[in-house]
Symmetry: C2
Subunit: 164 residues, 2 copies
């Protein structure tokens, strides 16, 4: 296959190659890629923490949003959480099966089904609140308290201007 006439070493050159070139840089030089990778890890940690309760991060996000609104049609959930309407169906199905939320018909519009947080849902949020904090602490472990606030504020601004 390959003529190995050159004195190639087994291990690849560990040192930098053409590091002078600006386009020759490591992955960590990109803020976007860092966000992508940390987002993956954050999701993994969240799902692992919520695994014992049988739910996933998406369910948790839906519950948390419901806690701030006290009832919303599924269309609103889709827009606010950024999930496809078809995805909301399955999520609410799961949560309703566990009696954490309840589907109620909207009085004025029989097409809509308003999802409200049940009492068990409030209890669930109260119980998993500490686990949620643990995940954030583990993620931002090497940062000081002040740095965490700074990071949170920056992320918040990026996220908010994201949706107009």
């Amino acid at each position: 296959m390959t003529a190995h006439g050159t004195p190639t070493t087994d291990a690849p050159h560990p040192g930098p190659v053409d590091a002078d070139e600006p386009w020759m840089r490591g992955l960590h030089a990109d803020t976007g890629y860092l966000l992508y990778r940390l987002g993956l890890r954050s999701g993994q940690l969240f799902n692992a923490a919520l695994q014992e309760s049988g739910l996933r991060l998406r369910h948790y996000a839906l519950l948390r949003y419901l806690a701030t609104v006290e009832g919303a049609p599924q269309r609103d959930l889709s827009e606010r959480l950024g999930y496809d309407p078809s995805a909301i169906v399955g999520l609410v199905d799961d949560l309703e099966r566990l009696h954490l939320v309840e589907r109620r018909p909207a009085p004025t519009d029989r097409r809509r089904r308003i999802v409200v947080l049940a009492e068990a849902g409030r209890t669930y949020l109260r119980d998993t609140d500490e686990a949620s904090h643990r995940v954030t602490d583990e993620l931002t472990g090497p940062l000081s308290e002040e740095e965490r606030d700074t990071l949170h504020a920056l992320l918040l601004r990026v996220a908010q201007t994201d949706r107009g």
Copy 2:
């Protein structure tokens, strides 16, 4: 829409409910969830920018890592990039099909196959470098230059101690 003052309102209560409770808070109060959501958006933007070249963010990350190492066995790629070894196979297959990388047998170990960046791969990195910068700019749009540096530094520390 229809917000009468009647006890049974169609629309859910728009105001805060039990906002006094600490576990009753919005999604954006969680740094972990913010990271998760921004990570998703970052990945979408990256993939959209790379779509015209037929590659995805994973391929791009692999190429960029190869640029800093000049050749690595697939096992190293798996560990460094955080992807499963089985995922590396498909990625290298795609890149090799486009002649961006090359699989070379390791002289001392016939199990290993060292993946090296081909000349076309370097050209590809040079050409897509600007697109990568555009994505980061779009993501961190609302932030000032100094704030972007702060965010990048914070994310870098979180990411680095992650695999320490």
